[in-house]
Amino acid sequence: MTPNLRLRTSEWAPWVAGILACAALSAPAMGQFGGFKKALDKVQSDQRLKKIEEASKPISVEQERDIGREVAAKMIAAIHVYRNDPLTRYVNEVGATVSVQSERQDIQYHFAVLDSNDVNAFSAPGGYVFITLGALQLCQDESELAGVLAHEVGHIAAKHVIHEIEDANKKGAAASALGSTVGDLTKNAPGSAAYQNAIQNIAKNIIINLFNKGLPAKDEYDADQRGVRYAHAAGYPAGGLERFLGAFESSTAKAQSNITITHPPVKDRNERMQQLIVQQNWQDADRPQLEDRYATLTAMLKSKSGS
């Protein structure tokens, strides 16, 4: 005898209804959960991509100039330009002689003397080069001045600071959803308050970084090599910067200067420059160091340092 296992409608209907009710009630929750999560992920991903895209755009020459201008203005505001027409002219003549040898000629290079006894020289993006009175007082001849200025021109020509900003922004934008200053720069029209704000923020960061930390050692070595090449191509002895750094290393000025914090050891720098000079056979003994011209045109500095 086979048992009849068939259930009556009244028996299975409540369970089917219950299952259907379950499905009906849980569907919106499941849908809401999955849909919301997907939408949220997409928005976050889009925002991140947009920030990375904005921060990844290369800084244009115009933007570079605006940044450099702001850096230069802050340096002048804080340290002040040393105003002496013959000296300004002389530094510009030497600067123009070496800067014309750089690979980068899409910008103009500008040179000024800063009224500071600290031994240092700086460059800002866009072509602004500064040398302090302290550095001029330490130079023994024109070829040393040419070497120092050529090193700074090297930083600008290689866009060391600009590449630092671009790299840091890419990393920053990729790592978080935070606003990026280069992004602010690229998405706002030049002259707008947001653009100007971004320029000021970038300039501030450049200055703090340059003065308190410095560029990566590889950039300094690169600027040294470029400096040697430009000075040599300009007709100066290739070892001007090397001699200047040697004098700096053994001077009392070393203890007072930021250079020891912001640059690699002088010994390493000079060894690398010497290697280049030997490799290229640039040990020209007959090239002019121009001690006399330098002494004449910087004579006023002796009286200033003695006062």
Binding site: A77, E142, A168, N205, I261
Partner: protein
């Protein structure tokens, strides 16, 4: 032979109520998680905005965000060396915080406009016996 179950019409409301209760119990955590995610996202957005605002106030930006931050140690080092000099080592923070005046901006313009005439530069190089490439 017919197997009669004891479940009859009277069980219908009971099954329905049980199903609803089970459904709510199962889906409630999902709703809570979704709500938490939404709140988390809103909090994150608020945090990001606050950090951005704070950075703007500080003038921080994110320029060297990917690099090692300027440490107090290096600032202290500068301060230590600053006391040794006549004017002292130059401190980046002080310079960065300066607001250029119109006179400062004019000096930048003067710097930009300054150029040595080509003829004079040539003479300068000849006088120094320089032979640029």
């Amino acid at each position: 032979m017919i197997v009669k179950t004891k479940v009859g019409r009277a069980a219908f409301p009971l099954a329905l109520v049980t199903s609803v209760a089970v459904t709510i119990a199962l889906t409630l955590p999902l709703r809570v998680v979704a709500q938490q995610d939404q709140e988390k996202a809103q909090d994150q957005q608020k945090q990001d905005q606050a950090q951005t605002d704070q950075q703007k106030k500080k003038g921080g930006g994110g320029i060297f965000g990917g690099l090692k931050a300027v440490t107090t140690q290096s600032s202290d080092q500068n301060k230590a060396t600053a006391s040794a000099g006549t004017k002292g080592a130059l401190d980046g923070k002080e310079i960065a915080d300066k607001t250029p005046t119109s006179a400062d901006m004019q000096q930048v313009t003067d710097m930009e406009n300054y150029s040595v005439p080509q003829g004079d530069l040539k003479k300068f190089q000849e006088d120094g016996h320089l032979q640029p490439k």
